[in-house]
Amino acid sequence: MLDLLRQPWPWYVAGPLIGLTVPALLLVGNKALGISSSLRHMCAACVPANIPFLTYNWRAESWNLWFVLGIALGGFVGYRVLGHPDVVAISPDTVRDLQAQMHLTDFSGLLPKELFAIENLANWKGWVFLVLGGFLVGFGTRYAGGCTSGHAISGLSNLQWVSLVAVVGFFAGGLLMTWVIYPLLF
């Protein structure tokens, strides 16, 4: 059993479990799964700066911050306690493409060190991947009214056509970056 837990989980185990989070949150407290709102609550708690969109009673939504704290704990348990392979077993085609296009050589860990090492903040890569990338995630998810959990999982589960529009936008942006902008950057 422990051996099974230690291995990476296949999609048909992880996907349904993620799906079950939707009814679990509804049943324990009438809450809709969504994580990007936590970024708004953190901004409202730390730097509200009299901005109307950030001056509200964020404490009333603090369940979301507890959920996010749990995700960080889960990251620790899932990676450090249950163990992990050094190299994520992605498709050989992806490895080949990333080597050829982005000149990556180190495929260990969760993020490629050649793009995401903190020391990269001294060159353009760090600013594009760490700073601009993170900024677009925070800006875009709030502007769209949700992220992969709020729109793709929660919204589509509840048959919200608005969420379908958002998810098409997510993928269009991702494909644009991967297929059009990456080849220009490297």
Binding site: L5, P8, W9, W11, A14, G15, P16, I18, G19, L20, V22, P23, L25, L26, L27, V28, S36, M42, V47, I51, P52, F53, G70, I71, L73, G74, G75, F76, V77, G78, Y79, R80, D93, D97, L110, F116, V128, G134, F135, L136, G138, F139, G140, T141, Y143, A144, G145, T148, I153, S154, L159, W161, V162, V165, A166, G169, F170, G173, L176, W179
Partner: protein, 136 residues
């Protein structure tokens, strides 16, 4: 404690995200390059299970464990839905992370996740400040 149930569910959610490797930048690149079924299988089966569960909740008018009726709010369309969606998509392919995985990465000990989260907070803050000037 009232919030411990959210902490517990969050922890389970974080373990699933981590063990299925969806918090890895490499998996997201694999997805956008259409070179594996892994991410599509996860997102697709999560939606199917979520959809069936919501149907069960609606049809049986299930209540929360505290006896309150379960309410599902409808999301409103704005132009931000697609413009913001597109912007997030660009960031998703750059960072290989959505907001949830960022926190799981931080917990797993990835130092750059802290920088990514601060940058994401700056993005959310900037959106909040500019909100009145953006097309809605």
């Amino acid at each position: 404690m009232k919030k411990s149930k959210y902490l517990t569910l969050g922890t389970l959610f974080g373990i699933i995200l981590t063990k299925s490797e969806v918090i890895s930048w490499f998996r997201i690149q694999e997805m956008f390059r259409f070179q594996s079924f892994h991410m599509y299988g996860i997102i697709g089966s999560a939606i199917v299970v979520g959809l069936l569960s919501i149907q069960l909740i609606k049809r049986n008018r299930l209540k929360t464990i505290h006896g309150e009726p379960i309410t599902l709010t409808n999301k409103k369309f704005t132009h931000g839905t697609w413009i913001g969606g597109l912007i997030f998509g660009l960031g998703w392919a750059l960072t290989g992370a959505c907001p949830g995985p960022l926190f799981a990465q931080l917990g797993s000990g990835v130092a750059s996740a802290a920088v990514l989260i601060v940058a994401a907070l700056a993005g959310t803050w900037t959106y909040s400040a500019l909100r009145d000037k953006l097309p809605l």
